[in-house]
Structures are given as structure tokens and as C-alpha cells.
């Protein structure tokens, strides 16, 4: 019994850090570039110094990898996680493990100038890695402004600051274009949305997370009112709030099966057939360059009757 409890506690710690919820650490942007090198504060609040821009990069976060490629630093990537799948070129890169259990040996053998981590790894392991001479930069944006800061920080580390600023501008542009479309819909007419990140238990994104903010940008009225960026939601609250659109952002269930959950049949989204399981989850849960596309995909599902935002994009 005691071993079970111990394992539960261990698991709980892992969950609290791994799961998207995470700590809302400030993604400190205080950084300065001078002749003496690059100094920056990472998501763990530590100061990291670089003499020159990093040339060899290990990314333990698929989102960071996507950002690196988007700002033209894809060539510098020497190691990624087993979950990395975008852009397609990443397939050829060396895999160093998953983000919570990477192989230190393999990372060191790649002689990286910097290792990007999400601060889910235990801090002792991080400390040990630093005594081995690795430079660690933790990235963990919780909301959209923090995503922008994280992108700029990554740009600084690899010496692509300008392109990272451009990427942020491009993303902001994509969002404001959507916001323009959405602003034509009166507040009272915004569709109520439930976005499901996991079932058993039901796990969703609150308004203080970038996933929740994406829903808002796409004109959705998020039914979840969570005290944390991410968290569980009781099914009775879902039934009470009666979402008009349900987004299933996990592979656990197909859309037809959602309506068969006990008590769900009368939810408007199910009655009107607006349950979607076809969204590319990576585009909305990775804080990378594809968030704009993710928001457009959400918008298309929230308001299929309104003009396609992609077509407007091409003009």
C-alpha cells in the first residue's frame, strides 16, 4: 500500500509538471545583446549567458523545433524528441528520447551549444546536465504573449533575432485578421465551445492558456472557466453550459461516440452534429508557428457558414 501511495505521489508530481497545466512561470524576456555576448532569462528564471549564437541545437520540445525551422535555424538542429514530426525534414534528425526522459549520453555526444527544454524535467537532472557542460534554456509559455516572448528568446539564442520578430509579427497578423472576421459577430452570438484535450478525466483549456486564447481568437466562447490554464471539468458542467461546438483534440474517441456518452445526447453540439475530431492537434497545443493555422482551423469549425478565412488569406 505504501509503495502504491508513493508511486501515486510520484505520478502526481509528474502529472502536475508534464500535463499542459504546468506552472505559470513568467517567461522572462529580459535579455540583452552586446559585444560581450548574449544574456537572457529563461522560463525557470535563470540567467543564461552565450558568448556567441548557438550553432548546434538540441530541442526537447516539438514546439521549439517548429519555431527553429520557421526562423531559418532548421540546419542548426542536431537532436530532437521522438515526438517531433514537423516540418517533414525533421524526420532525418537524431532522436534523443522523449521530453521527460531524454538520453543524456546521446545529447552530450551531439555536442550541442544549447539544449532547449520544457521545464517538466526534474530540476536535479537539469543541474546535472549543467555540470556536464551543457547550456540549458527552459521554455514554457502559458499564454499567447508568453509564446511571442519565447519565440524571440529562441531567436536570440540562435542569432536569428530579426526573423523571430518577423515570425511573431506574422502570427499576430494572422490572429488580427481572424479577430477582424470575428468582430463582425456580436458578442452574444459567439458560439459556445468545449475543447476536450483528454478524457478519463475530461481535461480542457482555460481562458488563461494559449489554447484557450486561441479558441477566443477564433470567435469561440469557451465554456470552461478554470482557475488554472488547464484542468479537469465535470461532465455535468459541460451539459449545463450546453456547448454549440465540441472540439475533440485527442485521439481517444471518435466524433460519433461522443453523443453516446450518458447524458450528452441533448447537448446542442451533438443535436446539430457540430462535434469535430478532425483538427490537427499539434497545431493548437504546440506553441509554435502553426498556431495561426490552428486558430483558422478552429474558426472554420466554429463558423462554417462564414467565408473561409484561408481564401481571404490569399488575396
Amino acid at each position: 500500500m505504501s509503495s502504491i501511495i508513493a508511486s501515486v505521489l510520484a505520478g502526481l508530481c509528474i502529472i502536475l509538471s508534464t500535463s499542459l497545466s504546468g506552472c505559470s512561470k513568467d517567461d522572462g524576456s529580459g535579455s540583452s545583446t552586446s559585444n560581450a555576448g548574449i544574456s537572457l532569462n529563461d522560463a525557470l528564471g535563470r540567467e543564461v549567458l552565450f558568448e556567441r549564437p548557438a550553432e548546434r541545437v538540441v530541442s526537447l520540445s516539438p514546439a521549439v523545433t517548429e519555431i527553429l525551422y520557421a526562423i531559418g535555424a532548421g540546419d542548426k538542429v542536431v537532436g530532437v524528441t521522438i515526438y517531433d514530426n514537423f516540418p517533414p525534414e525533421v524526420k532525418g534528425k537524431e532522436k534523443v528520447g522523449d521530453f521527460s526522459n531524454p538520453s543524456m549520453e546521446r545529447i552530450i555526444s551531439l555536442r550541442p551549444d544549447v539544449v532547449f527544454i520544457s521545464p517538466t524535467q526534474k530540476t536535479e537532472r537539469l543541474a546535472r546536465a549543467e555540470t556536464l557542460g551543457l547550456k540549458i534554456v527552459a521554455v514554457h509559455p502559458v499564454n499567447l504573449p508568453e509564446v511571442y516572448e519565447a519565440i524571440k528568446l529562441i531567436g536570440k539564442v540562435v542569432g536569428e533575432e530579426q526573423r523571430s520578430v518577423l515570425l511573431v509579427k506574422k502570427m499576430m497578423g494572422e490572429f488580427s485578421q481572424l479577430k477582424r472576421l470575428v468582430s463582425q459577430i456580436p458578442r452574444g452570438k459567439r458560439r459556445r465551445v468545449y475543447i476536450e484535450l483528454s478524457q478519463d478525466p475530461f481535461w480542457t483549456a482555460g481562458k488563461s492558456s494559449f489554447v484557450g486564447q486561441l479558441v477566443e481568437v477564433a470567435g469561440g466562447d469557451n465554456i470552461a472557466d478554470l482557475p488554472l490554464p488547464y484542468g479537469t471539468i465535470n461532465p455535468e458542467v459541460i451539459i449545463q453550459k450546453d456547448p454549440e461546438v465540441i472540439i475533440i483534440a485527442h485521439p481517444g474517441i471518435k466524433r460519433d461516440e461522443v453523443g453516446r456518452r450518458l447524458g450528452w445526447a441533448r447537448i446542442t453540439a451533438i443535436q446539430t452534429g457540430r462535434v469535430y475530431d478532425d483538427i490537427d492537434v499539434d497545431m493548437i497545443i504546440r506553441y509554435g508557428p502553426r498556431l495561426g493555422q490552428g486558430a483558422r482551423d478552429l474558426f472554420k469549425r466554429f463558423y462554417p457558414e462564414i467565408v473561409n478565412p484561408d481564401s481571404e488569406n490569399t488575396e
Partner: protein, 347 residues
């Protein structure tokens, strides 16, 4: 004199069990009317009295399809865990015995974790597969424990206990292994380990609740039927043998029944701790050590306890807490209290 004694027994039996039954019903109504979506007891009455015109449709959906199955699950799990605790404490002659002591629960979780990690547990099919595999896992664990403990054709309660501890450790390691290679599925396994009653039933899986309920009821009735022999067994193996009980066969019978009951509960709600340990002890203070009263009383008090613990779990924080955490937080101090104020023969 004997007549007088029997009358006293029946009176106590009826008082204890009837008042506990009333407590279960009251607790169920309380739990039905409380939840994060703010409904009242009047809504519950409205739903049950068929006056649906006054209550919005979502309210009856929430009460009948979300809360009611959950409360039934709490009753089933509470009853099966408490009764199994009673039986284990008698079979092993050990007041510290709980339903998880012989590794049945680790077997169930290892089974569920295996299915989850290898990605079979998706969709409706997965919703059926996970509980089924974890049920089979719990039975296999029990069979393994029994085989390990069987030395020279005999099983002694000490070796049974040791075998159980070893199998528990081994399966615990298997669970850890599965957790370390899992990623997205990790929180599902952790939720199983913490125990929670939020199992999402669909129209196609609700029958599992009836199976679990049926197994629990059947098990409790069979145990009640053999409760005189359980009384003899709890006096010690020697006295039981002198009373003409075939200990080996009786013990096998008990272990089989109890494994079915625990498997049914654990496969749907994971490891809810402390219920099977403290409820039997607390119930004994009410009913006395006679298993004829103790078994139904433990089933009913287990149900009340879990209904109330789950109501707390659902409502106390803005985010739902796993019920296993509530039972452990409430149960730990309560067990210490029992220990400090113990009376001989009760704990």
C-alpha cells in the same frame, strides 16, 4: 435464554442495518442534489416526481445520467471494498489487511495500464477493453498469489500474506515500468492509481456498471450465507478446524468471491484507498464482530462513506479531486483515532 439471545441479535441486526440503509438513501439524495452545476434538492424531487415541466431538461440529464450512475458506482465500490476488507481481516487474521493487500488491485491496474500504454484503450472498444482486462488482471494476480502461497498442498495465512506482498511489489514494478514508458497516457494511469468515480459511461458501456453491481450483490449474499463459518474462522484456524470447517476449501471459496468483488470495483474506479481498511473497523464498533451483522453493515457503511467522500471530491474545489485522495485524507486520521481508542476485539 437462547430465545432471549436470538431476539437481541435480531433486534441489533435490524437496528444497525436499517439505520445504515436509511443513511445510504439520505446520502444518495444529498449527493444527487449537490454538484458543480448548482442544482437543488427540489430539482431532484422534481426529476423523480416527473414534474419535468418545471425543471430544465439539462437538470434531469445531469441528475439522472451523470450523477446517478456515479452514485451507484460509489455504492457498488464502497460496498465491495468494505466487505472484502472484512473478509481479508478474518481470513488473514490481521487487522491491517485491506482489499489491496494480496495484490488483486495491482493486478487490475497493471492490466489497465498495459492496455492504455499500448494504445488499445481508445473509443468505445477501449472503454470495454480497459475494465475487462483489468478485471482479468485482478483475477490472475489472485491466482498467482494462491499458487505461490501453496506449499505442500496447503496454504497458510502467513504464507498467503507474504505471497501477496511479493506479488504486490512485483506488479507495482510493472506499473512503474509502464508509467515510465508512457507519455500522454500517464495521467490516465495516475488517475487509476489515485482512484476516482468519474468513469464516463456511454449507452454502450453502462451495462458494465450493472455487472459490477450484480457481482458485488451476489458476493455479499454468498458471504452472508457463510457468515457463521467466517465467525469461526476469525477465532483462529485451530478453532475453525475443531468446529469442522474445511479451512483450505473455505479459504479458496472466500478468496474467489472477494477477488470477483474487488476486480469489479477496481476495474471501474481504480485504487480507492482506505475504504476497505477503515470501514470494517468503524462498522465493527456499530455492529459488533458477528459477521452475520457485520457483512451487510459494512456494505452499507462503505456505500455511505464513499458517497459522501465523492460528494466532497466533486464539490470542494473548483477542480475535481480524485476520490481516493479524499478517502486517504479523511481515512488516515480516522484510523489513527480508532487505533488510539481501540477496544480489545475490535481492531
Amino acid at each position: 435464554m437462547i430465545y432471549e439471545y436470538q431476539k437481541k441479535f435480531y433486534r441489533r441486526w435490524a437496528t444497525v442495518n436499517l439505520s445504515l440503509l436509511i443513511a445510504v438513501i439520505a446520502g444518495a439524495f444529498l449527493a444527487l442534489s449537490i454538484g458543480p452545476s448548482r442544482t437543488s434538492l427540489i430539482d431532484v424531487l422534481g426529476v423523480f416526481l416527473g414534474e419535468r415541466t418545471t425543471t430544465p431538461e439539462w437538470v434531469s440529464n445531469v441528475i439522472l445520467r451523470i450523477r446517478l450512475p456515479r452514485i451507484i458506482l460509489a455504492i457498488v465500490a464502497g460496498a465491495s471494498l468494505s466487505v472484502s476488507g472484512v473478509v481479508f481481516q478474518a481470513v488473514l487474521g490481521n487487522p491491517l489487511a485491506d482489499p489491496y493487500i494480496l495484490g488483486v488491485s495491482s493486478g487490475a491496474v497493471a492490466g489497465a495500464a498495459l492496455v492504455t500504454v499500448f494504445g488499445i484503450g481508445k473509443g468505445t472498444f477501449g472503454q470495454l477493453v480497459i475494465p475487462t482486462v483489468s478485471f482479468v488482471g485482478s483475477l490472475l494476480a489472485m491466482i498467482l498469489v494462491y499458487i505461490v502461497a501453496r506449499i505442500g498442498g496447503r496454504v497458510r495465512s502467513q504464507t498467503l500474506l507474504l505471497a501477496g506482498v511479493i506479488v504486490n511489489f512485483f506488479l507495482g514494478a510493472v506499473i512503474m515500468l509502464l508509467m515510465s514508458i508512457s507519455n500522454r497516457e500517464l495521467h490516465e494511469i495516475v488517475y487509476l492509481l489515485m482512484g476516482n468515480l468519474g468513469y464516463v459511461f456511454s449507452e454502450r458501456t453502462i451495462w458494465m456498471l450493472w455487472i459490477a453491481g450484480g457481482l458485488t450483490l451476489l458476493g455479499a449474499i454468498l458471504l452472508l450465507w457463510r457468515s457463521r463459518e467466517l465467525n469461526a474462522l476469525s477465532l483462529g484456524e485451530e478453532s475453525a478446524t475443531q468446529l469442522g470447517i474445511d479451512i483450505q476449501r473455505f479459504r479458496l471459496f472466500l478468496l474467489f468471491i472477494v477477488s470477483l468483488m474487488i476486480g469489479a470495483a477496481v476495474s471501474l474506479c481504480g485504487l480507492i484507498g482506505f475504504v476497505g481498511l477503515i470501514v470494517p473497523h468503524a462498522t465493527r464498533m456499530l455492529s459488533g464482530p458477528d459477521h452475520r451483522t457485520l457483512i451487510p453493515a459494512a456494505a452499507l457503511s462503505g456505500a455511505v462513506f464513499l458517497i459522501l467522500a465523492d460528494t466532497l471530491a466533486r464539490t470542494v474545489a473548483p477542480i475535481e479531486i480524485p476520490v481516493g485522495v479524499v478517502t486517504a485524507i479523511v481515512g488516515g486520521p480516522f484510523f489513527i483515532y480508532l487505533l488510539r481508542t481501540r477496544r480489545p476485539g475490535y481492531i
